[in-house]
């Protein structure tokens, strides 16, 4: 509640993705990736908040929610929610579609992805995400290029 918080706002103006979360309807985190440093101890509370915000939304409501000094963009796939935290100056709709692109990539790799695929292949999902987002910026959206390094690794492992 200190007055200095009023002045902080412009500083947070840098356009970026702050985190990507995958949570299920029970509020359990299935994947989390932070692009700004958040202490481990604070993450659980933040994730619980985020889930609460998104789960309370109705279908006909906006897919963007204000949360603290940033925005949440969320998209639901069956029981799984993908939530992206972004700063206010990001383009919400482009992130909304980025989420779908991510899911399409996962779908392509796992040929019809499910929550369990993600759980059993947490490392691979992270590797895919690392190809798409770095330092809070979108770095690759071309599906075949996103998957190229991982498929190369898979081939090496098989041989």
């Amino acid at each position: 509640m200190e007055p200095s918080r009023l002045k902080e706002r412009p500083a947070a103006d840098r356009r970026m993705i702050k985190f990507v979360l995958m949570v299920n309807r029970q509020g359990q985190t299935r994947l989390s990736r932070y692009y700004h440093s958040v202490e481990l101890s604070r993450r659980a509370a933040l994730e619980a908040d985020v889930v609460r915000y998104c789960l309370s939304r109705k279908k006909d409501q906006c897919s963007f929610v204000e949360y603290k000094d940033f925005k949440l963009v969320y998209r639901q796939y069956a029981a799984l929610y993908i939530v992206v935290g972004i700063t206010d100056s990001e383009n919400e709709l482009s992130i909304y579609e980025l989420v779908h692109n991510f899911v399409e990539v996962l779908d392509k790799y796992f040929s019809r992805v499910s929550e369990l695929d993600i759980m059993f292949n947490l490392d691979r999902v992270h590797i895919i995400l690392d190809e798409m987002i770095q330092n809070g910026h979108i770095v690759e959206t071309n599906k075949s290029r996103i998957l190229a390094p991982l498929t190369a690794i898979d081939k090496m492992v098989e041989s």
């Binding site: 200190e2 007055p3 918080r5 706002r9 359990q28 985190t29 989390s32 481990l40 659980a44 006909d60 409501q61 906006c62 897919s63 963007f64 929610v65 204000e66 949360y67 796939y77 069956a78 029981a79 383009n91 919400e92 709709l93 482009s94 909304y96 579609e97 779908h100 692109n101 899911v103 399409e104 779908d107 790799y109 796992f110 040929s111 019809r112 499910s114 929550e115 369990l116 759980m119 059993f120 292949n121 947490l122 490392d123 691979r124 992270h126 590797i127 190809e131 770095q134 330092n135 910026h137 979108i138 690759e140 959206t141 071309n142 290029r145 190229a148 390094p149 190369a152 690794i153 090496m156």
Partner: protein, 1160 residues
Amino acid sequence: MSDVVEKTLTALPSLLSLDSHPGSAKLSSTSKLGNLIRGITELTSKHEEEKLIQHELLAIKEQVSSPNTTMRQMKELMVRSIYCEMLGYEASFSYIHAIKLAQQGTVLEKRVGYLAVSLFLNESHELLLLLVNTVLKDLQSTNLIEVCMALTVVSQMFPKDMIPAILPLVEEKLNHPKEIIRRKAVMALYKFYLIAPNQVQHIHNKFRKALCDKDPGVMTASLHIYLQMIQENPEAYKDLTPSFVTILKQVVGGKLPMDFNYHTVPAPWLQIQLLRILALLGKNDQSTSEVMYEVLDESLRRAEMNHNITYAILYECVKCIYTIHPKSDLLEKAAKCIGNFVLSPKINLKYLGLKALTYVVQQDPKLALQHQMTIIECLDHPDLIIKRETLELLFRITNAQNVTVIVEKMLEFLCISEDDHTTIDLVGKVAELAEKYPLNVSFILCLLNLLYFPINHCTYAPDNEWFIETMNTVFSLGGDMMQPDIPNSFLKLLSEGFDSVEEDRKLKLFAVNSYIPLLRGEPGKLPQRFLQVISWVLGEYSHLREDLEPAEVLSLLAKLLDMKNSSSETKSWVLMAMTKLCKGGADASVTQEVSETYSSSLDTVLRQRAHELQYLSQDPELRARVLPRGATPETLEVDSSLSFLDRFVSEALAAGAAPYKPPHQRQEELDQSKALSLEPYGLSLPISMSSCSITDRQSPTLLSMSSGLSGDSADLSHKGGSSALKLDGVKRVWGREGYLAQREPVEEAAQVEVPSPIQSPGRQGEGDSLHSQTPTQTPTPEPEQEKQQLASSLFVGLASQSSVSLMGKSEPTPQRFRRKAKGQGPGSSFNASEQISSSLISPPSAVDNLLCNNLLDSNNASELAEQTSQLSQSLTTANGTCHTEAELTEPDTKGCNPALRRDNCVVAADPGPHDDPGRLTEVCLDSYLPAELSGLSHSEIAPLCANQSLNLSACYVQKEDSLILVVFIINSSESAIQQMLLQVDSEELEVSCLSDSPAGEVTSHSVAVGQYSLTVKRPAVHVEVVGTVSYQLPAGTSQSLQFSYKVPLTSFIRPFVVSTEEYGTMWLSFSHDTKQNLTLINDNQEPLTATLNALKKKLQLHVVEVIGMEGIVACRLLQDLPCLMHCRVNAGWLAVWLRSPVPDLPDCLIYHCQRALQSL
């Protein structure tokens, strides 16, 4: 929804046995990871989770440290650790093993090792250093996959200090034959640029190469670097604009390979990135903007497919169009686009539309009018985020007339918002608005009062609560940044009270009740102003609470005095409150102690208050007389001439005291006396004598001038109070709206009975294709009417351009016209009233405008012509105004050209888009330099800013004792602009206006020149002046244009001629210094002399003396801030020691010396 099929948990067994997926192939249901996952999916409580993970952590810990663990097992252990950390349980013991895995593992194991490192560690973690060798090895690997992994991790995190170790290897990869390696190398360099920009300074040309890479992926990667660099310094990359435009053109035109498409849209995120870059480059830059108009048009056209991603592109495109130099047909298309967004039934699009509108109204507030009904609807939208965004939008269009309504809406939202951050943000905005429109603060408070007190007597108590609590929030948050007006008006409101005595009592009591716990809690956290309010209220009203002992209040207040961070102002409020409360008896000890402590305070005010407290606490009778309880505030007469002191003065004079001298006289005498004595301390050096007295002599004129200016602006704002747009704080990039012709008809808004006299009625327009659903002329149902009423109060002041009184009941509007007409001559006042009457009869439209014009032409053409020629004649004589085309205009005037008609006609037709706004810019502005400056050298005349009617340029002229800023205001429009006011200010500089500021009218295609003398207040490496030109268009709209202009500090430096002895004396007396080694110029025998001469030439320094390997140099910063420089050649460097009485000056100067020597 996608076609993704979800497999539920019931499918688990079949999934585990069915190894069809590449990922799950290696997992068996008996694996430890499998067990963990199964355990996690079966969790039902937080407690179970904790048990499971703690158990898991123990197991992992045991296994990782075992020497028999294979890399493959280690990989699985790391994934399990990742799981534990993901659920919030620290697994720090595994960090070192993650690094080991990255080092020793192969392929997937290595990748998981790197992944775990990037997930576990933050960028400043010390373990990261252990990764450097591994990265170094992998970068040199012949296995491309390993190179790839290393580059990926480097572009995510890398210790800043170790960049030089791997930089050459990364750079080398820019030439790698594989695109993926090149792309990742660019991303790694981007990371370096983010964390240590100076480390990659030397490879800027390699970035350019990456931009031109034949592979689109590498090019895309380089855009990240460019976006960042252009954000920091757009000027340096203007030459790349055509490249970015070409790239965008190719992408939009579908030239990229198919796999870059997303749902048939070519590389949408790349398009967005490019549009952001273009927006940055084209901002405030007409010629650069012109390069991109075509491709922006193309982008708008191509993005017609109905898919979210095309809307995301459109949003970015609209933002870009509104950021760069305006082009009317593009603006029109962009505005239409925004219309499609906000009217969309899809809520996500509506949201984005509001966001776009919020951005756009900062440039053009009138656009909000087109969508006013939608905005009103959004304000009542059930989805809070839509409501919130709408408030954000309203916040941007706030002006003096609608501020109360908008604040009210914000406060309404505050009542329903449950989110802390939103509350803080909104209260901050309310406080900001209160600060911006101080006149309205008391109005807001009264409004609150009106709204929440008399209406509902039954629900009175919660409203009281709400009011006090809102004010408490405003005080706590607004804190000490808040304007003193707010607490003052609050206290006034509280003491004056409302209609009912009983209600007043309740309100005051509530305030007391809410403050006591605050003081009992942690008052140290409250802002000073709030503490002052609390002290006052408790002093006055704490007696209302019967169960409260004055002694307790006193001890609470005394606690405030003991707090370290209480300001003496607050302490004096507290002492005052204690004086009101103390009654002797039990309270005596507290008051006695306090008054004793402070009666010896160094602060005279506190001392006085302490004495008052002491005396009044001992004399209850006197106290009751001086501070009667429950007194109503009375007006005090202040004897500003201090006549009651006359006796004291005459006695003092008789006793031999010196007569009083006003401060400026004292200063002058002081300077003279100082000039004679060779005082070593202080700033007044011989040279300062003349300049100082000059400024002193000038100051009365300056004063009168500035008061004239402020009087002018007050007049302006008063006029604007009726219906002109108040543009304070709203940045306007362009003046005339190219697309305003589309404004929807909302005549009915004006027919609604508007409750407030300050609200002007609606506006007119020529119809809008977008808004067919807005009802016209039909009798409107109740709620509709309410909305329109709201609309008229919200959007008041935005439609000034065409605000025509439809019903004739809006008094201020005609008034404004009359007043303006009066200034123009006797003939036009008649015209104006006739104009109004004609518009009263028929609903205004383009046809009517035409009609009016005809009317004008036939009846008053000759009078008008005469009057206008008078006008232009008076202009030519006006000081500082150059009238270039007077001869050209005058015959035109007689022919009554359209420009003239706009000048005088009230119902102005919208001016057509100006095809060539910058017509005069090419004209050589040199010739407009004031005669007294023309002989001196001046900097390049640089364009500052422009809109469709004005072009501003500036340059500076270095005179011996001053720096003159010359601002050229070119009216490039077809009509004269009026009441022009140029205001220039700077944080670092003292700006004083020379000659007459170019105020008043500037006729079409002429130039007005403003001159300002600049001196340095506070040295900085670069100093900047900011300015605003406000003016009125003939149609009566107030417009303003803002600019900023950078002046290098070096232009303020002048040689300072002193003798070596004087130098020595001064050297010892100066307290601010800095030392640094500079490079010597080594091209001849005498490096010291050569370097000093170079500095002398570049920076206008004075070389006092050179003795052997040492040299002393002196300069002054205008007006008379000296800086001394001592140079010594030492081991091939020039050791420089700078001293000055002015803080920061040595640092700034050393920077410029460095720059000067580098540029040689």
